[in-house]
């Protein structure tokens, strides 16, 4: 079996893998980085999104042999030395997740968006996030959390003015 050295979250990892093994399974099964999720295996759902040299990439459809020297970043490596990424904080603050399974992929797509467009409009967000499925339907909170991480506006979801009747 061939051996590859890939750089993940700033560290080089040497691993033995079949050339066609998708990066997703190298991360999850070989390196134990289970934060990146399997959803479809056919580049449709975005659950497996990681960054490759900063760009969002479907790791289920990228053979480990094609990674080469490019830097891989996963959800585990998103927080910096200073603490959580602004998106992670916004996600917690706004309680975005329902089941939570899609959210690592969502956050990675959003982080790639903010890295190239610090002040996205709602349309920019919709376009950048259209590749990420959320079966639980958290889209509105995702959009709102990205906006608040970008400093554009505050939490939007608390729109339920509770009406108390007894």
């Amino acid at each position: 079996m061939p051996t590859y050295t890939i750089n993940v979250n700033g560290n080089d990892h040497e691993l033995e893998a079949e050339a066609d093994m998708p990066l997703l399974w190298a991360l999850r099964d070989t390196l134990g980085l289970i934060g990146t999720k399997f959803g479809c295996g056919i580049a449709q759902c975005g659950a497996c999104t990681v960054h490759l040299n900063g760009a969002p990439m479907r790791s289920c459809s990228l053979p480990v042999s094609a990674v080469g020297k490019q830097a891989v970043r996963t959800i585990e490596g998103l927080a910096g030395d200073q603490g959580l990424h602004a998106l992670q904080e916004a996600w917690i603050e706004q309680d975005v997740a329902q089941c939570g399974y899609c959210q690592a992929g969502q956050i990675m797509s959003a982080a790639a968006l903010l890295a190239r467009n610090a002040k996205p409009t709602d349309d920019d967000i919709d376009a950048a996030m259209a590749g990420n499925y959320c079966r639980c339907g958290t889209y509105n909170r995702i959009r709102s959390a990205i906006q608040s991480a970008a400093g554009n506006r505050q939490a939007q979801w608390v729109n339920a003015a509770p009406e108390i009747q007894s």
């Binding site: 079996m1 399974w25 289970i34 399997f38 998103l78 917690i92 309680d95 499925y133 509105n140 509770p162």
Partner: protein
Amino acid sequence: MSDLFESVRRAIAKQQNGQANGGIDRRSFVKLAGIGGSGLLLAAMAPKVLSATDGSPAEDTLLVSAELNAFVKIATDGKITIYSSNAEMGQGIKTALPMVIAEELGAKWEDVVVVQSPIDEARFGRHGAGGSTTVNRTFDQMRTMGASAREMFIGAGALVMEVPREELTAANSRVTHVSGQFRTFAQLATLAAQQEVPDPDALVFKERQDYTIIGSAVSGVDNLAITSGLALFGIDTRVPDMLYAAYHKCPAIGGRVVSANIDEIKRLPGVVDAFVVKGNGDVRELLDGIAIVGTNTHAVFSAKRKLKVKWDESQASKDSWSAMAARAQSLKGRRGSEEGLVKGDVDSVFADKNNTTLEAFYEYPFVAHLCMEPMNCTGHYRKAGSKANPGTKDELELWIPTQAPTRAYGPAKSLFGLEPEQIKVHQMRLGGSFGRRVYNEYVCEVTEISKRMEAPVKLTWTREDDIHHDFFRVGGFQSVKGSVDNKGKLVAFENHHMGMQTNGKPVVGSGFRPVEFPLQNIDNALVTHTMFDIATPCGPWRAPQSNTNAFVVQSFLDELAHASKRDYAKFLLEILGEPRWFEPGNIRSLNTGRAADVINLAVEKSGWGRAMPKGSGLGLAFFFSHAAHVAEVAHVSVDKNKKLRVHKVTVAVDVGPIINMSGATSQVEGAVIDGLSTMMAQKITMEKGRIQQSNFHDYTVLRMPAAPKVDIHFIQSDHAPTGLGEPALPPLAPAIGNAIFAATGHRVRKMPLSEEGYS
């Protein structure tokens, strides 16, 4: 946050070194004798003073000092551990129920750490979750746990401060005297655990107006782990020396293996073993298949694609959707042979020429659950006398993302001869469920594979497996007829419900019961059934029956309102009639007063009745299910290419008091978007017993740009609280369909909308 952040970093590092796994290996609790009946509550309420050396898990990083009862532990540093005993699948139970305990306890929410409980029904009561019942079922139990611990703190406070207990209150993780002096829970913990356990019947719960935690918006307790990529879900389980497996079953459900190219598969890279498994023919347990075991998931998935299997399909499903649809067409407008409900005399009403009478035929497909986390399970079967288990009895350890952890016991006994005490189940977080993971067949599969391999094994289904081998939301057809008199009042309703049955029993989700709206509200009603025999497995799917019946009934009533030139809101309110509760005290029965309140609120908040520009419209629907009264108004526009845009859905809900405002709004937002996702393009079809869709390219989910705004309004009535995982979904489809009619004049009678040309 910085402490937490550090602990996350450590956990990630540990995870990566393969040391951690999702299982929580907690000290086994001492069981009290004489458990049963009310003893169960007493067992759960038994306090204990603990020392840091009593075998409590180091991973707690808590200096455990006292366990007030099964659900509440206090550490000397002030941290309060609250156990969550039910399955978390995104419905928010792991946050909401501990909020109830914390409220009654008088804890400060910031001091609370929520931990998934071990599986132990003697201590925690029933595990599992489903049917939006958990909140209602456990609300009082949680209040009891919180209040009883609170009373013990107050007792301890009275002793320490030497004051009468009546002069003490518990709040903010402190016991405070009227004079202002106080002791923290941490200071009192040891003594509190030595107080007598209060009589549960004598406990007084807090009044609603005094709530500080219940009703607030609290972020989910697993959010840091979720957003940091920590192991939580079943599929994240890693145990030392674990192998990876795939399992291939016959695409025609129930087919048996004749032969397969096993030798060739075994030679593929990364494959450790491959073998035929003979099942017991029960789709909920173990069907025939080929197990492929390897060193990683990719190896077994790739090998699975190279399988060549000869199947014996003589006993397999032969189901055909096109045949079902054709048969339903032939029954259209006729009555079914089985009578469900006969009330009054619909025929004379229909014959009356003064009435406006309409007939319509509705169709809805099978749909899949499509949990984002495909089915999976990790298991370790340890044979007695093996290196892993020197004991005399076999052992089975399971890490299951399941709604029903104890359901693993039944087949473990019948298939493998194991008693519950030989089995250890770890409840894992579920990456979605929607009713899917009440079945545990993947547990049987991994058990069989692990037993053969004598090693821990993680079984992961491909997305294709997940779709082909679902327990589907059942499809069906309804031929409906109704009459409105010359005063615009609904006077008769008939439904020929064409549903599905297996072995003579209606499948889950197929039915039209006599309590279905509006049958109880009118004098002339007839329901007949024709049941088609199917072999395709069906199961609960977010609001079973309701999710399809709401579409038919609320669309058809809107048709009748239009035909008789009535405003649909007024028409509905008139059908509901005087405020009354059909079965007083039973929250599962319709309360027309609560129904009218949510309809009126949705009408008011949505601007119902205003003039709409050409090509856009509003649609209203109401539905009662899962003890919840919900009304929704959809605002849509449709262009000339039938491009549908759902701008906003206004939702009015009465589920009683809301526990977690954030979780509750999430459930409603999710139900609306999920409902729209399902009605847009989702349809499972089968021919020759084979499911024809396979992955997200041919079975699509709504994407972010199409998500509507969701405007939510709760009526927090004084009725008992209940769950919100399901009931906001059923009214969505008819609200959209009715809005499309308002916008275009085209009546939607068939799902999904893509088949009617909408995109």
